[in-house]
């Protein structure tokens, strides 16, 4: 699997977050914490994770979800899986 660019992931994640919780995609920047900065609850994170799986073609197990605290964490996780594949 080819490496997905950081910008592609950020853009994709921004679209997902805007669709699911209504926060503008432009606010979804790498340093943001989903819970503290974007005020996203745990069930919404489940929805976002499922949508991210569909968009980027990677599985995010529930055990892994709690480690994905910031937008950058998701970028790293998706790129890390892509690198391993």
């Amino acid at each position: 699997m080819a490496e997905v660019s950081t910008q592609t992931i950020l853009d994709g994640l921004g679209e997902i977050v805007e669709e699911i919780v209504g926060i503008p995609a432009a606010d979804v920047t790498p340093e943001k914490n989903f819970i503290d900065d974007l005020d996203i609850d745990s069930l919404s994170m489940v929805e976002i994770a499922v949508a991210a799986q569909d968009k980027f073609g990677v599985e995010i197990p529930d055990d892994e979800l709690k480690n994905l605290r910031t937008v950058q964490d998701v970028v790293d996780y998706v790129q890390g899986l892509a690198a391993k594949a």
Partner: protein, 421 residues
């Protein structure tokens, strides 16, 4: 006396006739039918190919932000839209609208649905079968639970006196209003957001009510299908939408100078003890609900001038209700102006009681009884005065009315309203 009197201070609705109270009421006075052919593929698979769908799609109102809409069943969307309209109408603050801020602990919600989030349950099951459990929305349970609508409205207005969702099929939201009246009488709340909602116009419901032979099959003329008391009636028409009444203690409403639509004077309940889905022919269960309602409201039968009937357009139900009215009122039954709102709105099931309570309140306020439409040849068994053709003017002055709602399971609920003078 001692009993706290309860008044109606706000109204909200999203119905097959209009997206709000004003357009719904205008449409009802104009005799408008909400029944239409369904815009679906594969209609040939269904015994009934029409219904009374909401006049305005929830998404088109812009009232609820899109991300929140995704987590709400359609019935919950209707409920919240109607509740926001009603609370604004009552003069309470909401969003950018200025108004009175209410003490949360004195605000309750009683909002019913007969069926609950049917679309959400079935949609999620489709997702599960096609894609597995991980793709099922984590909001599926709050979307399908029948108390979900009450909970959404309670959260919107931070109502902490209590949130309740009574379920009794097609009398659910009449029961909700009755419970709301009792909440205020018991001193549990000053204000109660009370109503009902339903959104189950789904192929499964068309098939299952069709299998019961309960719905009209007049597929070639949907607008003529709901025809209570007419010789050619052949079943009800399924509708969807929501209606909400703001109930308030008279003392609280007067102290804040609220506009008062009417008194919500009382409620009567009974059960048929007869059959799961059929009423007894003599309407004895309905009669008991009406008699108990009069007693609860402290009204004499002769004070009632109007009945907004349950009248669903089924062959048995319509005449059984009229038999019950005669049993409860004796000779006075012949002086009552009776109408059946479902001739225009179709049957909103768990939303019907609240919608018809709302219509009864407006009937008293404006002194105009909306007509029963499609009544061309009166059933030979009907000898009471059914208002049809055009709206009928009621006399000015003191006036009281009843509103009947009956549900599968043998539930009977009657509400009483009095004109505010």
């Amino acid at each position: 006396m001692g009993k706290t009197r309860v008044v109606v201070t706000g109204l909200g609705a999203s119905t097959p006739i209009g997206g709000d109270v004003a357009s719904t009421w205008d449409g009802l006075l104009a005799g408008k039918s909400g029944s239409r052919t369904l815009p679906w593929d594969n209609l040939d698979a269904l015994p009934v190919q029409f219904a009374a769908q909401a006049a305005v799609e929830p998404a088109d109102t812009g009232v609820i932000p899109k991300p929140r809409m995704r987590r709400m069943d359609r019935c919950q969307q209707f409920a919240l839209i109607a509740a926001i309209e009603a609370m604004k109408d009552a003069g309470y603050a909401h969003g950018d609208t200025e108004g009175l801020t209410i003490d949360s602990d004195r605000l309750g919600v009683v909002l019913s649905s007969g069926i609950g989030g049917l679309h959400s349950a079935l949609d999620s099951y489709d997702v599960f079968k096609e894609k597995g459990w991980r793709r099922v929305s984590p909001f599926t349970v709050p979307m399908l639970m029948p108390n979900g609508s009450a909970a959404h409205v309670g959260l919107e207005f931070n109502a902490t006196a209590g949130i309740h969702a009574l379920v009794s099929a097609c009398s659910s939201s009449a029961e909700a209003i009755g419970y709301g009246i009792d909440m205020i009488r018991a001193g549990r709340a000053d204000t109660v957001i009370a109503g009902g909602t339903e959104a189950c116009i789904h192929p499964l419901q068309m098939a299952s009510f069709g299998a019961m032979r309960a719905m009209s099959t007049r597929n070639d003329a949907p607008e003529l299908a709901s025809r209570p008391y007419d010789k050619a009636r052949d079943g009800f028409v399924l509708g969807e939408g929501a209606a909400v009444l703001i109930l308030e203690s008279e003392e609280h409403a007067r102290a804040r100078g609220a506009k008062i639509y009417a008194y919500a004077s009382g409620v009567g309940y009974s059960a048929d003890g007869h059959d799961m889905v059929q009423p007894p022919e003599d309407g004895r269960g309905a009669a008991k609900a009406m008699q108990r309602c009069l007693a609860d409201a402290g009204l004499e039968p002769e004070q009632i001038i109007h009945i907004n009937a349950h009248g669903t357009s089924t062959p048995q139900g319509d005449v059984a209700e009229l038999a019950g009215i005669k049993k409860a009122f004796g000779d006075h039954a012949y002086r009552l102006n009776i109408t059946a709102t479902k001739s225009m709105t179709g049957h909103l099931l768990g939303g019907a009681g609240a919608l018809e309570a709302l219509v009864t309140v407006l009937t008293l306020r404006d002194g105009l009884v909306p007509p029963t439409v499609n009544l061309e040849n009166l059933d030979d068994a009907v000898d009471l005065d059914i208002v049809h053709g055009e709206p009928r003017k009621l006399a000015d002055g003191p006036a009281a009315a009843l509103n009947n709602s009956f549900g599968f399971g043998g539930h009977n609920v009657t509400l009483a309203f009095e004109r505010a003078l």
